[in-house]
Amino acid sequence: MPTDSLFQPLAQAGAHTAKTVTVTFNGEPLQVPAGSSVAAALLAAGVKRFRNSPVSGVARAPYCMMGVCFECLLEIDGEPNRQSCLVALEAGMSIRTQDGMRDLLAESHDPATALTQTMEAPHGV
C-alpha cells in the first residue's frame, strides 16, 4: 500500500492490518484492506480522487462517510453513481472513478447507452 495514504489500518484500533483483497481500480489491480466499505478501503489504499465535479471538473473525495454528501460516487461493476461509503467491499470488484457527464459520453462505445445512463442518473450527475 502507498506510503502517502491519508488513512491506514491501525493495529491499535483493532484493524486486520495484514488482510487485503485485490480489486480493479480504473483498470489496474489494487490491493486494499478487507472488511469495510469500498470508500474506506480505497482511502486506506491511498486513493485520493474519487470523481471529478461535473461542473468545473475539480477533484472530489469522500466527505461524510455516512451516505449524505454523495461525494464518494463511483462506478462499481459497471453501475454508475454508487455511494461507495455504503457499498460493502468484495474481492474482484471493478471500480472506476466517475468523471462527470462529458467523460461518460466520451468514453462510452455506445453513445445511446451512455445517454440513457446519464438520464437515469437520478439527480443529474
Binding site: 466527505y63 447507452t113 450527475v125
Partner: protein, 471 residues
C-alpha cells in the same frame, strides 16, 4: 438499460405488510422495535447499513477488543441495546435504501439490487442526525472530511490518519474524536477550536442545567483534560478558517490570539455540531419549525413524536438533537404510542409506561441548553463570504446566492431555478441549511420566514429502470 416489459412484472409476490415499519437502526429505531415487539406488534426495521447500531454504535457487533478500548465506554454501552434488538423478534432488513415513505404509510426501498415495498399500519422515522455543513474556503478539497466521517472510519474499519491530523470547529464529537485518537496513538497536529470567551459567558447562564446534567459535564471536562495532558496543540477562539491547498488539502489557516497561523496536514477534519436528518419528514410535507437554539429545522410533533401526518412518528435526533440516550427514550415513547394506535395497549397503560421514560428524558435534556449555547456555530462558518462554495454538488457560491436575492429571489426553491443549487445528487443535504440562513441574512428576515427546499422523492438514488420494475 433495458426496461422490464414483461406483463404483470413483479405483481406475483404478495404485498408485504407490518404493524410497524421503522426506518433506521440507531438507538431510537432499536428501542422502538424492542418496545413494539414487547407489546405484540409485528415490526419491520429497515436500515442502510449492514449491521444494527446507527452511526453512534456503528461497527459495535464486529469491533475487536482493542477498538472497543480505544472508542471508550459510552460506545461499548451500545452493545446491550443491539443485543436486545437482535433478540426482540423484529424483522431487520439490512442494506435497505428507503427512497420514499408516503402519507398512506407505504414504504418503498431498494435492497439487494431489487425494488421492494411494504405497507405498514404505523411508520416510525428514526433517521438520526448528520453533521452541520461547514462551508469555509477549501472545504470541497480532497483531504477534507467531517470529524464524524473520520470516526466512522475508526469505528467501522479501524482506519486512522497516517500523518498528524488537524481537527477544527467545535462540539463534543470533535473533542471525543481527539480523545479517541490520543488513545489509539494517532498524532494530532492541532485542535483548532472556534469556541471563544463570549461563548463561555453565554453558556454560563445555563450553568444550572449543566450542573443538573453533571454526568455529561464531567465527561466533557475529562476529555478536555486528557487532550491537555497529551499535550495536543490547542488553539482557542479561532476565526477566518480556510483550508490550504489547490488540488488537495495541505493544511488549515486561521486566526487565533490575533495571529494568522497555518498548520500543515494533508487531512483536515471539520465539525460544528450535528443537525436532524429531516429528508423524510420534509418529503411528507410535514410541518417544520426553525429551532433558533440549535440553528436547524425540526419537524413539529406531539408529545409522542407523531407528525401532523397521521400514523407517522419521528423519534431520536431526526426530530431534534438530544443525544443517544434521549433518542432511545423517544424511540420507546413513539413505540408505545404506535402500538396503542394499533389497538394493543390502552391509553391509560401507555401513559403509565411513559411516565418514567419522560422523567429520565428530562434529566438527559438538562445539559442541552448549555451545550447549544457553548457550541453555537459561528455565523462566519454558517453564512460564509461570497467566494465560498455553498452547494458542493453544483458549485454554487455564497456570492451567487446573494446575487439571486438581489435579482428578486425570495427563498431556497427559487434559488434552485436561478442556479441549480440544491439540485445535485445530495438533494440539498449539504447546502440546505446554509441556503436558508444566507437568504434570511441577506433579506434581513428570520429563517422561519424563508423556509427550506421542497424535498421530493426519490430521496435516495433510484434509476428509472428500477422504478419501472417495482412491485
Amino acid at each position: 438499460m433495458a426496461f422490464d416489459t414483461s406483463p404483470q412484472a413483479g405483481t406475483s409476490h404478495p404485498v408485504d405488510t407490518a404493524d410497524i415499519a421503522i426506518i433506521g437502526a440507531g438507538p431510537a429505531g432499536m428501542a422502538a422495535a424492542i418496545v413494539a415487539r414487547r407489546h405484540g406488534a409485528s415490526v419491520v426495521l429497515l436500515d442502510e447499513q449492514a449491521a444494527a447500531g446507527g452511526q453512534i454504535y456503528r461497527g459495535i457487533t464486529t469491533a475487536p477488543a482493542e477498538r472497543l478500548d480505544v472508542l471508550g465506554a459510552d460506545y461499548g454501552a451500545g452493545a446491550s441495546l443491539v443485543a436486545a434488538f437482535a433478540a426482540c423478534g423484529a424483522r431487520h432488513i439490512t442494506g435497505a435504501a428507503v427512497w420514499q415513505v408516503t402519507a398512506e404509510r407505504q414504504v418503498h426501498y431498494l435492497n439487494e439490487g431489487g425494488v421492494r415495498s411494504l405497507r405498514a399500519d404505523r411508520v416510525l422515522l428514526c433517521t438520526g442526525a448528520m453533521e452541520r455543513p461547514f462551508p469555509i474556503p477549501g472545504w470541497t478539497l480532497p483531504g477534507v472530511l467531517t470529524a464524524g466521517a473520520a470516526q466512522i472510519l475508526l469505528k467501522g474499519s479501524g482506519v486512522a490518519p497516517t500523518r498528524p491530523v488537524v481537527l477544527a470547529g467545535c462540539g463534543p464529537l470533535l473533542y471525543l474524536l481527539g480523545w479517541q485518537y490520543v488513545r489509539a496513538g494517532v498524532p494530532i497536529a492541532a485542535i483548532v477550536d472556534t469556541t471563544d470567551g463570549a461563548d463561555y459567558r453565554r453558556a454560563i447562564r445555563h450553568a444550572g442545567g449543566a450542573l443538573a446534567g453533571w454526568r455529561y459535564l464531567k465527561k466533557g471536562l475529562s476529555l478536555m483534560a486528557a487532550l491537555k495532558q497529551a499535550k495536543v496543540p490547542f488553539y482557542k477562539g479561532a476565526t477566518e478558517l480556510h483550508v490550504l491547498g489547490k488540488e488537495q488539502a495541505t493544511g488549515l489557516g486561521f486566526v487565533s490570539g490575533g495571529t494568522l497561523r497555518m498548520v500543515d496536514s494533508p487531512l483536515v477534519l471539520l465539525h460544528q455540531g450535528v443537525v436532524p436528518n429531516t429528508q423524510f419528514s420534509w418529503s411528507l410535507r410535514a410541518k417544520h419549525q426553525w429551532d433558533e437554539a440549535q440553528l436547524c429545522w425540526s419537524p413539529v410533533t406531539d408529545a409522542w413524536g407523531e407528525l401532523d401526518v397521521p400514523g407517522i412518528f419521528v423519534a431520536g435526533d431526526s426530530g431534534g438533537i438530544g443525544g443517544a440516550r434521549v433518542a432511545a427514550l423517544q424511540g420507546e415513547l413513539a413505540g408505545l404510542a404506535a402500538v396503542t394506535q394499533n389497538g394493543k395497549l390502552t391509553a391509560a397503560i401507555r401513559n403509565n409506561l411513559a411516565a418514567p421514560l419522560r422523567a429520565e428524558m428530562r434529566e438527559h435534556l438538562f445539559i442541552r441548553p448549555f451545550l447549544d449555547a457553548l457550541y453555537r456555530p459561528k455565523k462566519a462558518n454558517r453564512i460564509p463570504a461570497d467566494d465560498t462554495v455553498v452547494c458542493r454538488c453544483e458549485e454554487v457560491t455564497a456570492g451567487d446566492i446573494r446575487g439571486y436575492v438581489g435579482l428578486g429571489c425570495s427563498g431556497p426553491n427559487q434559488a434552485k431555478s436561478f442556479g441549480r443549487c440544491g439540485m445535485g445528487p445530495c438533494q440539498g443535504r449539504q447546502c440546505g441549511l446554509t441556503v436558508t440562513e444566507l437568504i434570511a441574512d441577506k433579506r434581513g428576515v428570520s429563517p422561519e420566514e424563508i423556509g427550506y427546499f421542497r424535498i421530493r422523492p426519490p430521496i435516495k438514488p433510484i434509476t428509472l429502470g428500477e422504478l419501472a420494475r417495482e412491485a
